[in-house]
């Protein structure tokens, strides 16, 4: 199979488009590159959506955690502890069992007389179920980062806001929130990178790959099992992830520059990337 053919057959295989059977027998390098790249679509999908939704929820959580009211603070603290204190792997397993169990127990929501049975079935699929877990997980981690930054907002900033007569929502929107973002951004960039790395776990946890539509690591393991040669598929995954990491760093760097655009060029906080930890 030539490279062009392999691309046609497998470029969108992870979405169920193209050749149905995965490569077998003599597996070419092209097939491995294309199919693993096709799996990356899922990694990007999970990472981007979880981060986008997670950002808003984590800001909300961080503010709740900083609240002086016990009733608001405690749930946020517990939520963060729950998701940061336990392995993501176990969270995936638990969520899957829960999502499989829910319909069986007969939990049916009725909204406007419309029974949502189909929705609970979707929960057991990776595209929704795993996304929910990743969303909650990244929210907890990012919330802790934003909480730390919220605590580190310089006293002078808020006092100046008071002096200008800014209060409540306006003060938060104009002063506290931008400074929080500025302080938290380098750490949040690391979190985003972890997040994308964590997506590699999705198909290794309980979520089954429906019709062999999996992510990059799923296909890499498939090849490693078939060829019994780990030296090709895993480095390919590594290359893809390094490229993805570089893209993330570039995007977050642009946002970082925008956040710090009022500062002179040479005093801007540089992004220090230390993406080396797992969750």
């Amino acid at each position: 199979m030539t490279c062009a053919e392999a691309f046609q057959a497998y470029a969108l295989r992870s979405l169920g488009i193209g050749e149905r059977a995965l490569p077998q027998g003599d597996i070419t390098l092209c097939e491995q590159f294309v199919l693993i790249g096709s799996g990356m679509i899922w990694n990007v999908y999970f990472g981007v959506l979880a981060l986008c939704f997670g950002f808003f929820f984590s800001v909300f959580l961080a503010i709740s955690k900083a609240s002086p009211r016990r009733l608001v603070r405690k749930p946020a603290e517990w939520f963060i502890f729950l998701f940061r204190g336990s392995p993501l792997f176990i969270q995936f397993f638990m969520a899957y069992e829960l999502f499989v169990m829910l319909p069986r127990l007969g939990v049916e929501f009725e909204i406007f007389g419309l029974a949502i049975e189909a929705e609970t079935r979707w929960l057991a699929r990776a595209w929704l179920g795993a996304l929910i877990v990743l969303f909650l997980n990244t929210s907890a981690y990012a919330a802790e980062i934003f909480y730390g930054a919220l605590q580190a907002v310089p006293k002078g900033d808020t006092e100046a806001a008071d002096a200008y007569g800014l209060t409540g929502w306006k003060k938060f929107r104009r002063i506290t929130f931008p400074t929080t973002m500025r302080l938290a951004w380098p750490a949040y960039t690391n979190e985003a990178i972890f997040m994308f790395h964590a997506t590699a776990l999705v198909y290794f946890s309980s979520f089954p790959a429906f019709q062999q539509r999996g992510d990059a690591l799923y296909y890499a393991t498939y090849f490693a099992d078939r060829t019994f040669n780990p030296f090709i598929p895993y480095p390919i995954v590594a290359i893809y992830f390094v490229m993805l990491t570089l893209v993330i760093i570039t995007i977050f760097n642009l946002i970082n520059n925008r956040l710090n655009r009022h500062l002179p060029q040479d005093t801007r906080r540089r992004l220090r990337i230390r993406p080396n930890l797992i969750r």
Binding site: S86, M94, E97, A198, P230, F241
Partner: protein, 293 residues
């Protein structure tokens, strides 16, 4: 376990559970917690040693050593570690077999990679095909531990390298002024003082190591995740203790176990930090000094 467990079908309520939770498979399940602790007990010091070696190598004057150390510590950046876990276990396994193969069967003329097969001579099979079951399990577990040590060693190397650089320069210059050799400065001044700077990073890695232990399951070890899945799955009346699908509850148990373990670690590490901060030239040490007077 208890006498009344002789006939499980006649039991109910609390008694049924007390028998159920102490039957044979559950004992194996409880033992598998030991597997996790064993892994942590061996992998943690081993990765610290790897990290120390890597950090020392990265600081060396000798260029190849520096490249090796830096290359190793930066290897883990940018790539999910699950890839490394899966990769290294296979590579180590094949590497060991290949080395033994080159030693034991020098006159083997066929290629080792034949299409999709990795073929070595029988004498080089590790472990031997006729070895007892525990040797196979022990070998796999050893490979897993070594893999953890390699990956987490790189993390530790990163942290220790930073910590060595964070030791105040005047301290090192003073030691040099007293006529200590490079080696003495390193062992008597840098190493004793670096721990307080390394501790936040190392405790972070410890937490991450705890949370990485369920990945053992992916490496084919019969750990707690394996048994939770195994026992939790639904059992019909053929079994002594039939029950529906309880995997969710088993995983909930594991979740609570990990949360508790994390919490205990946090408390212990806070104490260790206090102990190591004492008398150090850091903000924390200064605060303790002020509090004491």
């Amino acid at each position: 376990m208890f006498e009344f467990c002789a006939d499980p079908s006649s039991l109910d309520g609390v008694r049924w559970f007390s028998c159920y939770l102490t039957n044979g498979v559950h004992m194996l399940f409880y033992q598998s917690f030991l597997t996790v602790f064993t892994l942590l007990a061996i992998a943690a010091p081993l990765s610290l040693a790897f990290g120390f070696a890597a950090a020392t190598a990265s600081r060396a004057r000798f260029l190849p050593a520096r490249i090796l150390g830096k290359g190793y510590t930066s290897m883990v950046r940018g790539v999910p570690d699950i890839v490394f876990f899966l990769f290294f276990v296979l590579v180590l396994d094949q590497g060991i077999e290949f080395i033994r193969h080159s030693i034991t069967c020098p006159d083997w003329d066929q290629p080792i990679r034949q299409g999709a097969n990795f073929l070595v001579c029988d004498a080089a099979r590790t472990p031997q095909g006729n070895a007892p079951q525990w040797v196979h399990e022990g070998y796999n577990f050893g490979l897993a531990i070594f893999t953890y040590a390699i990956v987490f060693g790189a993390f530790c190397g990163n942290v220790l390298y930073g910590a060595m650089g964070a030791v105040p320069k005047p301290q090192i210059e003073t030691a040099a002024a007293y006529g200590m050799s490079q080696r003495q400065v390193f062992w008597r001044v840098v190493v004793p003082q670096m721990w307080v700077y390394a501790l936040p990073g190392l405790s972070n890695i410890w937490m991450i190591l705890i949370k990485a232990t369920p990945l053992l399951f992916l490496l084919g070890i019969e750990d707690i995740v394996y048994w939770a899945r195994e026992i939790g799955g639904s059992r019909n009346s053929r079994f002594a203790y039939p029950h529906p699908d309880w995997r969710f509850w088993y995983f909930l148990g594991l979740l609570v176990f990990y949360l508790g373990f994390t919490r205990v670690s946090e408390i212990v590490l806070a104490r260790v930090t206090r102990r190591l901060t004492r008398g150090q030239a850091t903000a924390g040490g200064e605060a303790m000094r002020k509090a004491a007077t």
